[in-house]
Homo-oligomer: 375 residues x 2
Amino acid sequence: MTNKTESIGSVKQEYLTFAEGSEGLKLDSGLSLGPITLSYETYGELNAEKSNAILVEHALSGDAHAAGFHEGDKDPGWWDVLIGPNKALDTNKYFVICPNVIGGCKGSTGPASINPKTNKHYGLDFPVITIADMVRAQKHLIDHLGIKKLLCVIGGSMGGMQVLQWVATYPKHVQSAIPIATTLKHSPQQIAFDEVGRQAVMADPAWEEGNYYGKAKPERGLAVARMIGHITYMSDKSMEEKFSRRLKAQDYSFKFSTDFEVEGYLRYRGDNFVRRFDANSYLYLTKAMDYFDLSGSKLIPKDKDIDIRFLVISFKSDWLYPSYQSQEIARQLKLRGQDATYCEINSTYGHDAFLLEVEEETHLIKHFIKKTFQG
Amino acid sequence: MTNKTESIGSVKQEYLTFAEGSEGLKLDSGLSLGPITLSYETYGELNAEKSNAILVEHALSGDAHAAGFHEGDKDPGWWDVLIGPNKALDTNKYFVICPNVIGGCKGSTGPASINPKTNKHYGLDFPVITIADMVRAQKHLIDHLGIKKLLCVIGGSMGGMQVLQWVATYPKHVQSAIPIATTLKHSPQQIAFDEVGRQAVMADPAWEEGNYYGKAKPERGLAVARMIGHITYMSDKSMEEKFSRRLKAQDYSFKFSTDFEVEGYLRYRGDNFVRRFDANSYLYLTKAMDYFDLSGSKLIPKDKDIDIRFLVISFKSDWLYPSYQSQEIARQLKLRGQDATYCEINSTYGHDAFLLEVEEETHLIKHFIKKTFQG
C-alpha cells in the first residue's frame, strides 16, 4: 500500500426502505411519512467492531454519489477529492456512508416520489421536513448497517447542519463531528436568499402549485433560483479571478443577450441544474435549512453528558456562511465543555471552498479522524 | 433665516424635450434616439452668475422627485433628508436640479414611451443606452438652463456612475463631484446580480419580449428581481438587526407561505415595486450599469488639463459597492493629480446607507460644497 491517493473506482447506489407500517416516520411537523426509501452509497469496508464508520452528509444540490464512478460516467462523485484510498476519508481504513436526504430527488423519498395513498407524485402533498427529520431517517440506515456509534459525521453547508443535528439528536451515537462552512441557524440574509429562490420557482407558471410531473417543468424559475445560488457560492474575488469583465464577443452587443463571460457561466449553470434537479425538492430542502435552529443550548443541552470531538471548519471568503457563524458553533461547544477545534481556511473560493480546498481540508480532516480512531 | 432644516415644501415636475430633428441624439450603440423628453425637478433659485447649480443624479429605482412633496403625497422625494433649506444641499444657497434618466420610466423617454415611428410603446425597440448616453441627454438640460459650469454633481450608486461620467465627458463643465457608494466599473459579481434580475424578468411569460404594454405585466418576474436587489442593498448585520429570525405567526407554518418577517418584507417590497416601475426600464438601466467602465485612465485622460474637486464617499457595510471600489476611484484621481478626498462612513446599513446615513453625509457634503462655492 502506497500513500498515493487513488479513486475508489466503480461504485453502485444501494437502497433501504423502512417505515412501511401504517405509522410511518413521525416528523417535526406532526405529520408522518412512510414508506421511506433512502438511496446511499458506501465506500471501504466496515471492520468487525463496526467502529470505523464515517457518515458523509451532502449539501443542497448533492446526493448519495459522493465518490468513485458510476458505470459509464466521466465525472466522479461530488466529494471524490476527499474520499478514497489514502485520501482525507481513507477508504483503506474507514467505511464511508453517504445517504441522499429525504425531500431530495436522487433516489431517496421526496416530492417527486409516488405517494402510495394516491399513486401519484407527492408534489406539495409531501410533508414539509426539517434537518432533524432527515437525520431521523438516516438513523434507520445506520441501525440497518448495525453501527452503534459513528466514528465521524462530516459535511459542509446543509451537510454541516445535518452533522450538528446528529450531535443534538443522537449524541451517544457519534464519536466525532466535522461541521464545515455551516451555521447553528440560518440568518435573515440566508433565509432571504432561499426565499427569493423559492419565489423564482413558484413564479414560474409551469410550477402549477407543484403539480408539474409528466408535464413541462418550471425550468426557467428553477434556473433563476440556481443562478442566485451560484453567486452566493462564489466570492467577489473568485468571480474577479475567474471572469473579470471579459466579454464573450469582441464588443458589447447592445442587446439583452449574453455580453459577459460571467453571464454565460450563470446561464449555463442554471440550465444544467434544471436537468438534474427537481424544483419541488429545491423548495423543501431550502425550507428545511431556513427552519434549522440549534442556537444557544439546543446543540448541547446543559444537562446532557456528552463526549464528542469536534473539528469546526470555515473559509475566509465564504460570505454565505461567514466565519463568525462557525466561530459561534465553536463558542457554544466550548461553553458546554466540549473538545472542539476551530480552523478558518484562508481561501478565495467563497462558500464553494468546502468542495475545492482539498489540500488544507485533507490535512485537517485526516489527522483529526486518525486521532479519533486511535482513541 | 435659522439653521433649522425644513422641507422645501410643494414641488412640481418639469419637462424638457429636445433632439426633435431627424438626427436625434447619437448614442454609444451607434443608434440615435429622438425626440427625447427629460422630466426634472429643481429646488432653490439659480443665482445671477448661474454659479450655484448642483446636479443630483438618481440611482436605479430613483426618479426626478428628489425632494419636497407632490400635491397630495404623504411621502417626500427620495433624498429629501439631504435637500432643502439648511440641509446638506441647502436650497437657501444652491439651485438643485434632479433629472430622471433616459431609459427610465418616471417621465423621461424610456422603453415605455411611445415610439413616434410606430406610434406604439418602444418596448425592446428602445435602443440599449449607456451611462454616457444618460449624461449626454442631461447636458441638454443644463444648457437649456443656461448653466455653463455645475457647482457640483452628486449621486449614489448608479447616480455615482453618472457623476463620474460627467467628469469624464464634460470636465470643463464640472467644478466639483461627489460620487457616493459607487464604482469605476461593475465587477463580475455586480454584473451577475444584475443578470439574474434580468433573467427573472425575462423568464416571466408575461414579459413577452418586452411587448406587455396594455396587457398583463411581468409582475412576478420583476418582483423577484427587486427582492434580489433588496438583499444586496442591505447588510447581513442590518438584516439581523431589523428582522433576526422573528416569525410572522407563533410557529413554523410547515407550508411554503411566509414564515419569517424577512420573507414578508421582501415580498412586500417586491410587490410594491412592480406597481411603480417598468420591467423593461429595469433591463435597460441594469444593462447601462453593467456596461459602465471608466477604469484606468478613462476617468481622467492623461493629456487633459482638469481641475475638479472630488469628495468620494463609501460605507463600511456596503458589500454591493464595497469600499475598495471607492478607494480605487480615489486612487485613480490622485494618480492624475486631482484634488480628491475619500471618506468611508462607518455604517451597518449596507448599500442603502447612502439614503440613510444623513448626519455624517450632511456634515461631509455641506462643508465640501461650501468650500467649493467660496472658491
